[in-house]
């Protein structure tokens, strides 16, 4: 009995897939729309995750930048850097001369040509201070105060600040992603619902015939529900493919960017669990869209 039950559902599953296969263009368009709709929030989620990962990889290495007065010579700057290195909270320092800063800026910023217009180098020399990772926030704050009071230091800036801002921005984007995901989930339901509604309209005669020969509502409903299942499933696959392409396209530039920051960061795709999750969500939305439409329209089709 149970084997028969599953057998029947499996047959409907194959049968509905065959029906979709016989209308390849319509099916491709519908599933592509669903795929894009699913890929958008998933892509946003990926973006947030990747930027988060970069942020966390930098969080462990807390840096401060000490901007030096132009009057400090290169030699004095080096000395200042080695002085600071001897402090107990500091792991290491490095001195970047005005000339080095200029070259780095030229290479990385893309505004190199604008610098040519200036008579002199506008960039200050910098001492980069790397703190020991074991330091408490209070100890770092105290050190920062001392460092900013050192003669020749114009400004001391903890690089943590922009990380905090980054995380705040990411939290905002993530919240936006959730809202967008909710809206697009509704879009998927409506897309599937509308497609199934047209399908029901086109199969009006067929539905009536089936009811005339004794088909129960559940029997008539089943193929439409499985069609919704397939739309969700194939749409989910399309979304995964689109995301895969996007990640592949992003990998090059992202790798270059990471290299500039001496980071071993590699852009990450969705991963197995999330991919299965995306498929599951697609299937759920497809099924729900179909069920909702069928509930609204199938009852009205009765033999006359």
């Amino acid at each position: 009995m149970i084997a028969e039950y599953f057998n029947r559902h499996a047959q409907t599953l194959v049968f509905t897939l065959g029906r979709l296969y016989r209308r390849p263009v319509a099916t491709a368009l519908t599933t592509l729309v669903i795929g894009i709709t699913l890929a958008l929030p998933a892509g946003l989620h990926l973006l947030v995750n990747n930027v988060n990962a970069v942020g966390y990889s930098w969080e462990g290495s807390l840096n401060a930048s000490l901007f030096l007065a132009d009057s400090i010579s290169e030699k004095d700057g080096h000395m200042l850097a080695s002085d600071i290195r001897s402090r107990s909270t500091v792991r290491g320092t490095s001195y970047i001369s005005r000339q080095q800063a200029l070259e780095e800026f030229r290479a990385l910023s893309g505004f190199g040509e604008a610098l040519e217009l200036l008579d002199e180098n506008p960039l200050p020399a910098v001492v980069i201070v790397r703190f020991k990772t074991t330091q408490s926030a209070d100890a770092i704050d105290a050190t920062m105060r001392e460092l900013s009071d050192l003669p020749g230091v114009v400004q001391a800036k903890l690089d943590q600040q922009w990380l905090d801002r980054l995380f705040a921005i990411l939290a905002t984007v993530e919240r936006a992603a959730v809202i967008i995901a909710a809206l697009l989930a509704i879009a998927v339901i409506l897309t599937v619902g509308n497609t199934i509604r047209l399908d029901i309209e086109n199969r009006r005669d067929e539905i009536i015939i089936m009811k005339l020969v004794g088909a129960s509502d559940a029997f008539v409903r089943r193929p439409f529900l499985y069609t919704g299942f397939w739309y969700g499933f194939i749409g989910g696959i399309a979304a995964l493919i689109l995301l895969g392409i996007a990640v592949a396209l992003m990998a090059g530039p992202a790798g270059k960017l990471a290299a500039l920051y001496q980071s071993s960061f590699v852009i990450r795709g969705l991963g197995f669990v999330s991919s299965v999750g995306l498929l599951g969500i697609g299937i759920l939305l497809g099924w729900f869209g179909a069920a909702w439409t069928v509930a609204r329209h199938l009852g009205a089709i009765v033999p006359r």
Binding site: E206, G214, F219, R304
Partner: protein
Amino acid sequence: MGDIVYLHRVAKRYPGGHDALSDVTLTLEQGEMAFLTGHSGAGKSTLMKLIALIERPTRGQVVINNQNISQVRRSQVAKFRRNVGVIFQNFNLLNDRTVFDNVALPLVIRGETRDTIARRVRAALDTVGLLDKERLYPIVLSGGEQQRVGIARAIVAKPPLILADEPTGNLDPELSAEIMALFRRFNEVGVSLLIATHDVELIRSLPYREIQLKGGHIADRATAAPYEQPA
């Protein structure tokens, strides 16, 4: 209790006030075959729809196979219809499915096993002489062949009652005679049949009861029940 169809003082008024049937009482015995005749608009289709539970009567009792249809709830209609094989004038086949799948439909709906379905569909197709066409689609068949597919679908689940609404309406006389011959064979093995037709020429030559409807009434009261068998 020997009646497969029993209507008592049945009336049907459609929304809008049109009285399709008024005060119809008739019986069809278990294993009987009878014709329902009358001009279009006489109420033949409405009567068939009441028996197939496509419409509900406004007044009166309809008892099919010892089941009073007023007690059949909406959710049970599907199950009820499985006891009635219906044959249509326009065949009502599913054109995107093969002959085999069309005939199999009532069995699939019942949840029969694949083996049972294959065996009984082939038996039904054999009965109507279409065993070699099971893989074809209905569109490529002639009208007579399509109607025989419809008949195979109506008998495949072996319902005790078969309703046929103008089954020969779209067929030429020769094919019509073939279809009638098929119905007689079903009747010989005990199936009850009620056949609505306006093809009076065809049926007057056959030894079956004719129930004539006229303006929503039964024209001749004597035809409302089976003829008394001569002693």
